[in-house]
């Protein structure tokens, strides 16, 4: 059954259904409906909700709960996500599975509270310190936002690494029909709890079955740390090989322009493409669904000898366009158009840009 729901609430409901029983966060616009939904629902499912004293505390509470092998999540919007970067680095270093939701707003600094995509660099290129990577899922609809909750937890558990859902104020605030998966059963929760018992903190026994599990990102001996980071690197390579995901929209061999856009921006671009199609102009779009690892091969494969231009649209000064350039690798010119400050471009603006490029 479909229900009409805000993205912020839908992702919270979906996380609970995916077996998340530990959620820690701090209020910030435009993600506050998420924390409010969790505050209301967690007690009803026997889960934990703590309104932390800061985003830093919240991600460290996640570190603690994830260290106990539980599905733990936190969420925030851009300025709060900056504060969480320390904890995300520690979680990756200690190989803890967890989910972080970013409902992006305009920056830098306090910025504003309208939708933006200016955290792309922070999300996909690190954000915290040290050599680490996280899988970043970028939804473009409320349904996808919700579906990504379970997906993010599965990926986090699979790789023992944080996973981020990179959303924005528009997807958080808007309502669309959404259909949910069946909620996790008691058996599912039991299975989820036990899946990490070979390394996580859990009730102990006396010798000879005593365990001493350490949740830790510190290794003072550089020779040992080197091996740890190399092993992490191999894990990141496995993620990169297996977890690319993208949508192809209106791709055709005669496309003269290939658009690349993710999340909210991709929806506006789709509207422009639809309108131009009615006018007899065929333009294709690649929408990266996972923005790390990046679907470079898909972009390269979409280029034909007809491709005159690759046009990147983002709600930023141009961040993902660097990855597009790497993917295109000089085979076609790469153009960029963006809006900043929480302003979202309109389909008309995108259409005008595309028409100008096509000289029609």
């Amino acid at each position: 059954m479909k229900v009409l729901m805000k993205g912020n609430e839908a992702v919270a409901e979906a996380a609970i259904r995916a077996g998340c029983r530990h959620y820690f966060a701090y209020p910030i616009t435009p993600q506050s409906e998420l924390i409010e939904y969790m505050a209301k629902m967690m007690p009803k499912v026997g889960g934990t909700f703590v309104q932390a004293e800061s985003e830093i505390a919240a991600i460290n509470m996640v570190y603690g709960a994830a260290g106990c092998g539980k599905r733990a999540m936190t969420s925030s919007s851009s300025p709060g996500i900056s504060l969480k970067q320390e904890g995300i680095s520690y979680c990756s270093g200690a190989e803890l599975p967890c989910v972080v939701v970013n409902v992006q707003r305009g920056g830098p600094g306090l910025g504003d509270i309208q939708p933006a995509q200016g955290d792309y660099f922070q999300a996909t290129k690190g954000g915290g310190h040290g050599d680490y990577r996280i899988i970043v899922l970028a939804p473009a609809s409320v349904q996808e936002f919700a579906d990504m909750a379970a997906q993010a937890f599965d990926l986090a558990d699979k790789y023992r690494n944080p996973v981020m859902i990179l959303s924005d104020g528009m997807l958080g605030q808007m309502m669309e029909p959404v259909e949910f998966a069946e909620p996790a059963t008691e058996d599912d929760l039991e299975r989820l709890d036990k899946q990490h018992w070979d390394w996580c903190m859990h009730p102990n026994q006396d010798e000879p079955n005593h365990h001493h599990h350490e949740i830790n990102s510190l290794e003072i001996d550089p020779v040992v740390l080197e091996q740890h980071v190399i092993a992490l690197g191999k894990k990141f390579d496995r993620m990169e090989a297996a977890e690319k995901s993208w949508e192809e929209y209106n791709l055709a061999p005669d496309n003269e322009i290939l658009c690349v856009a993710f999340g909210t921006a991709s929806r506006i671009v789709k509207s422009a493409i639809d309108d131009l199609k009615e006018e007899g102009v065929n333009i294709g779009l690649i929408r990266p669904i996972n923005v790390w690892p990046y679907p470079s091969e898909a972009i390269a494969a979409a280029l034909t000898d007809k491709t005159k231009l690759v046009y990147t649209f983002e709600l930023s000064l141009g961040q993902m366009v660097e990855d597009v350039r790497l993917a295109v690798n000089g085979k076609a010119p790469v153009e960029f158009y963006g809006k900043v400050g929480g302003i979202v471009f309109t389909p008309e603006e995108v259409k005008d840009k595309l028409k100008l490029a096509l000289k029609v």
């Binding site: 479909k2 009409l4 309502m175």
Partner: protein, 179 residues
């Protein structure tokens, strides 16, 4: 068919709810819908507004810039969004709170004293429902039954008394809009 709408008014007038019930009705008719509110400090100010799209096809951009339909519950909303309405579009405006009026060629403009009608129906709270009735008297964006069913689902248990007033307001808007 695709309808793009903006519903706008003072915070508390229920403009966002107008969009919500239209979207709910559309969803229950099996259509693709989206509901994108303005948010933040604006909520408390002059033009709390929502973009609603109801379409036979998946909704690409949920952001409405040239609406087919504008519901303006106050003057600032009318002034802000009236000029953007698509040629041949529809404007439903609350004359009780639009003393300045609005003139434009090429669009269908319906002025109704919604506050007054709402009070006649039993509660000032149903002002927004008058606008839905008026809208549906001029447009087949969704069926009137779908809106009423959505209302029934939401209010039948919690506020049955208010349900009556809501229905009455929709019917009154429908009748007066046609006139």
């Amino acid at each position: 068919m695709k309808y793009e709408m903006i519903c706008s008014g003072f915070g508390g007038q229920g403009a966002l709810t107008v969009g919500k019930f239209l979207a709910l009705a559309g969803m229950n008719e099996g259509k693709h819908v989206s509901w994108l509110p303005s948010y933040g400090p604006e909520m408390r100010g002059g033009t709390a507004n929502v973009s609603t799209v109801i379409s036979d096809r998946p909704v690409a951009s949920p952001l409405v810039t040239t609406p087919d339909i504008l519901v303006a519950l106050n003057q600032p909303s009318l002034d802000k969004f009236g000029p953007d309405v698509r040629e041949g579009g529809l404007i439903i405006a609350n004359s009780d709170l639009c003393p300045g009026g609005f003139e434009r060629e090429g669009v269908d403009i319906v002025f109704l004293p919604m506050n007054t009608i709402a009070k006649e129906c039993g509660s000032i709270k149903v002002t927004n429902m008058v606008s839905i009735g008026a809208l549906l008297s001029r447009s087949d964006v969704v069926k009137i039954e779908s809106v009423k069913n959505a209302l029934q689902e939401l209010l039948a248990e919690k506020k049955p008394a208010l349900l009556e007033a809501n229905f009455k307001a929709i019917d009154e808007g429908l009748a007066r809009g046609k006139a």
